[in-house]
């Protein structure tokens, strides 16, 4: 193995890590920074549970090496809530619409949903269905996830 030095800027804080060059962004967040909100569901880029925002765009952190994220802006589920613990509107909508059961895919779903709105892809149920299909939910919360996203998308911007 070879070690490398990486600076991760996560949720507004900066951390310098000396890590195995094989460490993914997902493992760096979870194992090195203690940010365990981002979940590992397959480690193969196929389930979306590890979705985070990298420079504002949604990426699969299990397919992104920590080294690739050097110096870039990472936002995780822990970075969505306000400093006073107030939930992001999308988080609150997921609770209200029961958009999860076991909760394991939920951080990834919410990060994807937040990005979806930024992408302008939440215009219709068909769009939401299509552009949320990279996030698997085995408990089967899809209709409620759509309801939560619709709810937030239809609100006037504040």
């Amino acid at each position: 193995m070879s070690a490398c030095s990486v600076t991760l800027r996560v949720n507004g804080s900066s951390a310098r890590l000396e890590i195995d060059s094989r460490v993914t962004l997902l493992d760096a967040l979870r194992d090195h920074l203690g940010l365990t909100g981002t979940k590992k569901g397959c480690d193969q880029g196929a389930c979306g549970a590890c979705t985070v925002l990298l420079d504002g765009r949604r990426v699969l952190s299990c397919l992104t090496l920590a080294a690739q994220s050097d110096g870039r802006e990472v936002t995780t589920i822990e970075g969505l809530s306000g400093e006073d613990g107030e939930l992001h509107p999308m988080q609150a909508a997921f609770v209200r619409h029961d958009g999860f059961q076991c909760g394991y895919c939920t951080p990834g779903q919410i990060m994807s949903a937040v990005a979806l709105l930024e992408e302008g892809r939440a215009g219709s149920d068909e769009e939401i269905k299509e552009f949320m299909s990279g996030n698997l939910c085995r408990c089967g919360a899809y209709p409620n996830i759509r309801a939560a996203i619709r709810d937030v998308a239809q609100r006037p911007a504040t």
Binding site: C42, A46, L87, V95, G103, C137, G140
Partner: protein, 708 residues
């Protein structure tokens, strides 16, 4: 819905653990870290049968950070616990050189980091003496076991009934292996503390993990503590303490450090069970007017060479319909496969596909509406026990469902309805998921501040146990929701059965009922005045807390003179099939469910919707494919094993009917599986109605639809 509502019960309150989950703050076993924790990775067999000749570890040991490599050569002998209600635990791993299935663990590598462990595991070289493997359900070399659960059922005289029938429908139905695939990769963190062992495990049943692991290491049960406050789904995969759990504890003992093992997604296909494939032969006889006069249901299923699985398949026929002559038989065939296990609606998922498809075929042969055929053979009493049901609103399920779905708008002729290039079909199924309950304990404690703690070893795997037990206890104690805390997922808490078999809400709910009643009674004995707060009573009597344990036990049907009822449901499905491409779209689903008393309609609805989506997976997507040559699972990734995604799922309508069940004080019936049961046959029946093609094999894929 018509469920009765107390002050806090029935209300569609938000999930009490929702805030933690949406913030990414709910602690799953995979989130647990210990200082100085090591990481384990597995080496798995690449053959399905034979023996290990040698395991070469030199290259693996050379990887930096490797702490130990454990194989059958150096692993200690491990014990095996007695059977639970689900049967014996899995055989202890790494005990000899025999290979019984592809994917069997043959070595554990422990290293400082997960990356090092994974690399070293890849460098372990295993040589085998390969033997012929029995892999196919038709392979006569696999030993077959008749009546494996002792649950085969018979009444009347099937042959006489068939001889008396005007129409006999006979067909074979098959279902594929399916894999549970909860999103959460199963993780065990094991930490020895003195002679005791602490486990953080993705389990649906902490009490069972404790029993299994204690027996493996010869420990008294109280020295093992299992934590599972949050679990990333299970769907049955977490009902047993699978070998990786024992191996995590073993690895931790060998390296004298806490050890974490997280299964890879491919390992989730071979290490934690799966829904076994079936071949089911049905013979159903009826009179011209639709009266059923004989049902014979014989179900062959796969099981592992040296492990067991409780999977009653043909039981659906035994208590589904009023029919005087019945034979329902299960047969298991032992194969060189990873051991199957429960997967949402075990047995019923497969059995109801065959039975409800066969009834649909019979309806067409008799030219009777499929809904009418089912109502004509409605079981007013339990057909096997001859006792009245403790509750049954299936007739109402059918009526309400037909109304909401618009069943009467259906043109009964096949291939008669279209929407552009899409062929449109309506299908239905009527189902039950049987009652299941085992004893359960709980502790309810009133603290000095007058608030209550409810504690049990039970787990909440996403079903909403935290929430509904908080609601139930608040109602019974006369407290606000916010004055009750529920602590779950800790084997040091009072013994609980599994979160499985649609049995926990009843078992735990009834225990909560008993404990809360006892607490209120005790407060009365302490001289509580009307309206006096619990805090004041305790203060006046100089008590810091008041605590009561209670145990619920399953009622005896014969004593009560009632047949215990599970949930009932009617499922209505509309499919669209592309006439040229064979693409199937589920256009809409209406589910009407008699779930007894519903404690929280919002969460109950989510349970049914989730089960329904699992049913869509079983119906048109899911098939675990075993390579016929090597016994390797050939599609063990989410890229290859298809499960429903958001775009596959329409909005799903759920309605609850019926009222509290008479069997128990809480009046609930489990609803974890009823959402799934019946979806696959309703889809198959709708596909037939749309296309005239009867698909008797699951999943119903494009290639099966396009086959000439």
């Amino acid at each position: 819905m018509t469920a009765t509502s107390g002050p806090a019960t029935g209300a569609p309150v938000d999930r009490v653990d929702g805030r933690l989950k949406v913030a990414g703050a709910a602690p799953y076993p995979s989130d647990v870290r210990y200082p100085d924790m090591a990481h384990a990775a597995f080496v798995r067999s690449t053959i399905a049968a034979g023996r290990i000749l040698a395991i070469e570890v030199t290259a693996a040991e050379a990887v930096g950070g490797v702490q130990a490599i454990i194989t059958h050569d150096n692993a200690p002998r491990l014990g095996r616990a007695a059977a639970s209600v689900l049967g014996p635990p899995p055989p202890a791993p790494l005990q000899d050189d025999r290979i019984l299935h592809n994917g069997q663990y043959v070595a554990v590598v422990v290293a400082d980091t997960p990356q090092q462990a994974a690399e070293a595991a890849r460098r372990v070289v295993v040589t085998y003496d390969r033997a012929e493997a029995a892999l196919d359900l038709d392979d006569p070399r696999g030993e077959s076991v008749a009546n494996p659960f002792g649950w085969d059922a018979a009444r009347g005289d099937v042959e006489a009934g068939l001889a008396d029938a005007d129409v006999v429908h006979e067909a074979v139905y098959t279902t594929a292996d399916n894999t549970n695939n909860p999103l959460g990769l199963f993780t065990t963190v094991a930490a020895w503390q003195g002679d005791g062992l602490v486990l953080h495990d993705a389990s649906q049943w902490t009490s069972n993990v404790r029993t299994t692991v204690a027996a493996a290491f010869g420990l008294p049960e109280p020295s093992v503590r299992v934590h599972a406050p949050y679990v990333g789904g299970g769907f049955g995969a977490g009902l047993r303490a699978w070998p990786h759990v024992v191996l995590a504890a073993l690895a931790a003992r060998v390296v004298r450090r806490p050890v974490k093992v997280t299964l890879t997604r491919p390992e989730m296909f071979t290490g934690v069970g799966h829904r076994p494939s079936t071949v089911q032969r049905l013979r159903v006889g009826a009179k011209r007017d639709g009266e059923l006069v004989a049902i014979e249901h014989e179900a062959l299923q796969s099981v592992a060479m040296e492990d067991d699985n409780l999977e009653p398949v043909s039981g659906v026929a035994a208590d589904g319909y009023a029919c005087a002559n019945l034979s329902a038989r299960d047969i298991q065939r032992r194969l060189n496969i990873p051991c199957p296990g429960s997967m949402r609606a075990p047995g019923h998922a497969q059995g109801s596909f065959a039975l409800e498809s066969a009834l649909d075929e019979l309806a067409y042969e008799l030219r009777i509406d499929p809904l009418e055929l089912r109502l004509r053979n409605y079981a007013e009493t339990h057909p096997q026990l001859g006792l009245p049901w403790s509750s049954k609103a299936l007739r109402e399920c059918c009526a309400v469902g037909a109304e909401r779905f618009g069943w009467t708008a259906r043109d009964p002729r096949v291939a008669s309805m279209t929407d552009g290039r899409w062929q449109v079909g309506y299908g239905l199924a009527g189902v039950s998921y049987p009652w299941w309950q085992v004893r359960c304990r709980v502790r309810v404690t009133i603290g000095a501040d007058g608030t209550a703690d409810v504690r049990s070893a039970a787990t909440d795997i996403g079903t909403g146990t935290y929430t509904v037990m908080q609601q139930l206890a608040a109602e019974l104690l006369g407290l606000e929701l916010s004055q009750v805390r529920v602590g779950l997922g800790d084997s040091d808490m009072p013994w609980s059965p599994a979160a499985g078999g649609s049995g926990l809400t009843g078992a735990l709910g009834n225990a909560v009922h008993l404990a809360c009643k006892a607490v209120v009674e005790r407060l009365g004995e302490l001289g509580r005045r009307t309206g006096e707060s619990y805090a004041d009573v305790l203060a006046r009597r100089g008590l810091t807390e008041l605590s009561t344990d209670a145990e619920s036990t399953p009622p005896d049907p014969q004593v009560l003179g009632m047949a215990p009822s599970g949930a009932f449901a009617a499922k209505f499905v509309e499919v669209h099939v592309d006439r040229d491409l064979g693409v199937i779209r589920i256009a809409r689903i209406v589910s009407v469910v008699d779930g007894g008393r519903i404690l929280n309609e919002k969460l109950a609805r989510s349970q049914i919707v989730g089960g329904t989506i699992g049913g869509i997976g079983q119906a048109i997507f899911e098939e675990t494919i075993t390579d016929a040559e090597t016994g390797r699972i050939a599609n063990a990734t989410f890229g290859d094993y298809l499960i429903p995604v958001n775009a596959d799922v329409p909005d799903i309508e759920v309605t609850f009917v019926g009222g509290p069940d008479r069997m128990t004080p809480t009046g609930t019936k489990g609803i974890g599986e009823i959402g799934l049961a019946g979806i696959a046959p309703a889809v198959a029946n709708a596909v037939f109605h749309a296309t005239g093609r009867r698909i008797r094999s699951l999943p119903i894929t494009i290639d099966r639809l396009l086959q000439p």
